[in-house]
């Protein structure tokens, strides 16, 4: 049966007795791999389909790891032929994975979602009916580029404001924009575990000072946005 991986932790950690069940109710076990340990479970399907229930189960296991010490969270859907293959894959990238775990040690991720109530948010590309000439096409193209540029400019300004509000609490930042169904800006910050309350207070103050930002904070999360290592 394939082995599904939830996260990686330091080898010195033991699996707590109260670790929740994993995907489809499978018991979670520790798979030692060199200087790391993978928290894993059996899974019936080598490519488990993503459902809300499974995503919640994945995160629940990762959160359990986060309770005591920051893990390196795995992306959903990673299965291996068996435990031995997990060990082989982790060993093959041990230096990079261990380095990534060290970078997030003692830290958590906070996510700021911004849905600004600015006119620019509505500057989505306009597709006009009719006008099949090359000139009309170019006009549509210009309009689309203009709208995209407006959104990028607004996103840059918002990112700066959010970053300034969080200030020195931020150890790393990752930003993503989500264009559908409406324009959103998602900013993730890596902060120290002890700074969560201070961080929230700073962002709450920004939200209160400018309600047009439509700002909402979630977290602390395991550092999903800061767990990347170079692909092989």
């Amino acid at each position: 049966m394939p082995t599904y991986v939830y996260c990686l932790v330091n080898a010195s950690r033991e699996l707590p007795a109260d670790v929740p069940r994993g995907l489809d109710g499978a018991p979670v076990r520790a798979v030692p791999a060199a200087s790391l340990v993978a928290w894993a479970s059996d899974v019936a399907d080598a490519r488990p389909a993503a459902t809300v229930e499974r995503v919640r189960a994945h995160d629940a296991v990762v959160r359990c790891a986060l309770d005591a010490e920051t893990p390196l969270p795995a992306r959903f859907g990673q299965t291996f032929a068996d435990d031995a293959m997990v060990v082989a894959r982790v060993r093959a990238r041990e230096t990079a994975l261990h380095g990534a775990l060290e970078r997030v040690r003692g830290k958590v991720e906070m996510t700021v979602r911004v849905r600004p109530t600015l006119d620019v948010r509505d500057a989505s590309p306009v597709v006009r009916e009719g006008g099949s000439s090359g000139r009309a096409y170019l006009a549509r193209l210009r309009e689309r580029h203009r709208a995209e540029q407006m959104w990028r400019d607004a996103a840059d300004i918002i990112q700066r404001r959010v970053s300034e509000a969080a200030g020195a609490l931020v150890h790393a930042e990752a930003m993503a924009t989500i264009a559908k169904p409406e324009r959103w800006l998602s900013i993730s910050h890596l902060i120290m575990r002890d700074d969560v309350m201070t961080y929230r207070a700073a962002l709450d103050a920004l939200a209160a000072s400018d309600p047009t930002l439509g700002l909402a904070v979630s977290g602390p999360w395991a550092p999903y946005s800061f767990a990347e290592v170079a692909r092989v």
Binding site: L8, T111, A176, A227
Partner: protein, 85 residues
């Protein structure tokens, strides 16, 4: 947006679920190779914040860029009279 086109502010639960999906499905360490995720639950799409939509948008943008470049080349060759002044 509602069915009547009005803007509806998402509930806190929706925000958290949206962030959960974005984090767990699109981020986190990839131990080996690539991860292909199949979707079995319409709720993932319905929540409206899903990374799946963002991924589709990214792909569309890339394809559109390729098409635009191809079309702009075609414009020069086929419709020289329609180029910008």
């Amino acid at each position: 947006m509602t069915d009547r086109g009005e803007r509806r502010e998402p509930l806190d639960d929706e925000l958290v679920l949206g962030d959960l999906l974005n984090h767990v499905l699109d981020k986190g360490v990839v131990i080996a190779g690539d991860v292909t995720i199949s979707v079995a639950d319409i709720d993932l799409v319905r929540v409206g914040l899903s990374v799946l939509l963002a991924s589709v948008e990214t792909e569309e943008r890339m394809l559109r860029g390729q098409r635009d470049r191809a079309d702009s080349h075609a414009d020069v060759r086929v419709l020289p009279g329609e180029r910008e002044p």
